[in-house]
Symmetry: C2
């Protein structure tokens, strides 16, 4: 039996990048949940990634797992990667290493030069390498990409770029209205299908095969597990699954900000 | 600003050791909390450690932080290391990589050959190197050490060995009786003072200085923070402190086993 894990940031340039992460003096606590610590990436840092994905910011699952896009949005993304035949040759970073707090916190810092300079160091470390394609999830990720593209190193990138709707935009835009959410998912998947068409011929697959587009909603098989090898050493296997295993708890808003309850999903509980 | 972190298990032989961790077929779920995943170590894996500490098993703080002895017992140990002038040249592993569940779960597997064989691979990886001294915390750790010493590689070790009382034995032995607990702490610290006398001349300090023995109880300064550099990348600074930031919650025993609530300590909460 061999349990794979992600070795993380021991090697340069990532070791220094992690040590140099800006704190609350750059990411103010009124706009970012700096108190939960930064989350840097998920996927390959060893130069083997062929697709770069830019997310927005980590949430409660991510600060517990210490890897990004492992919650609900992450499973939607993992299905997108699977349609490209990518089972391991990808790397994901976020627009913001800290979780955004409150409405508009993310937009407010869209043009923050210090935040952009730090993020650009990550782009410089990961690109071009053998990255053949880039996907931006949502408008802030698109802006982050454009900011890097305007730099001398960024202007040299010649791969494919596809900005798409963020995986949880249907939830955030529909505010509990189920019909609106379904319509937003259908619309989002149309955009994702178009992006897949662009990416498929450009990005070499780990598992070659025909492109099977999305329908009007996510099928269960389109929300696959996150690979165990994307998590740090010792991470339990239920972290790979799509159950809601981390929740913000706490009796009032103040306590909710500082409390996360981790509950092992039923199928993984000892009998 | 530079935030240190522990790079973990990217290099051999630790990478393979982590991949090869036995699962619940070796550590049965009736005796071990395998569902929370293994915790492997804390401290230096780069050969710079001069003191090896053998703990017993991880608990709730450790499975969240993914490093061992970071809770209450860890702070007591950190003060012990400080008295030896050790601020970074140490490494800690446990008798069991999984948390022991229930009374006697640990004792029952004291002579488990598969568990010992895996643990001995960690000893082989860390010893002798430049390890000058070994500390065993509690009887199970002592037994683990003796088991390794009986192997061909173990018999070659020529450093100092000091078995001491486990840092939380005063709590577990006194069962809520405050006077008993205080007496047990005093007795434990007498033993720790004797061990310090043995270790001090044998183990080269990071910060040389005179040995200041314990009194009859722990002083606040004798429970120092765990160094940030002992935690994985992105770990928030409050994990270094001695507040009880991880608790087993859940309405009944079954839910308590599968639930951990992480609460940021007051001084670290956003205002």
């Amino acid at each position: 039996m061999s349990t794979p894990f992600d070795p993380g940031y021991g090697l340069q340039p990532f070791r220094t990048l992690v040590e140099d992460v800006p704190d609350a003096t750059v990411f103010p606590t009124k706009d970012f949940r700096t108190e939960w610590g930064p989350v840097f990436h998920r996927g390959r840092l060893d130069g083997s990634a062929r697709l770069l994905i830019i997310g927005q910011d980590p949430a409660q699952h991510e600060v517990i797992a210490r890897r990004t896009l492992v919650g609900g949005a992450g499973h939607r993304l993992q299905g997108f990667l699977a349609k490209l035949g990518l089972t391991r040759s990808y790397v994901i970073i976020n627009t913001y290493v800290y979780s955004v707090f409150g409405q508009g916190g993310g937009n407010k810092h869209k043009n923050n030069a210090t935040i952009a300079a730090y993020r650009n160091r990550w782009f410089d470390a990961l690109l071009p390498g053998q990255i053949q394609g880039v996907v931006a999830l949502g408008q802030l990720a698109d802006a982050a990409w454009q900011t890097w593209r305007a730099t001398p190193t960024g202007s040299a990138f010649s791969g494919v770029y596809t900005p798409v709707t963020h995986p949880t935009q249907p939830e955030s835009s529909s505010k509990g209205n189920k019909a609106k959410k379904q319509a937003a998912i259908t619309k989002m998947l149309q955009g994702w299908n178009a992006a897949l068409q662009t990416l498929k011929p450009a990005v070499t697959a780990d598992l070659p095969g025909p492109l099977v587009p999305y329908g009007t909603a996510f099928l269960p098989a389109e929300l696959p597990d996150i690979p165990q090898g994307d998590f740090p050493a010792g991470s339990p296997p239920w972290m790979c699954g799509n159950a809601d295993w981390a929740r913000r708890t706490g009796a009032d808003d103040k306590l909710k900000r500082v409390t996360i309850t981790v509950t092992i999903p039923k199928p993984f509980r000892p009998s």
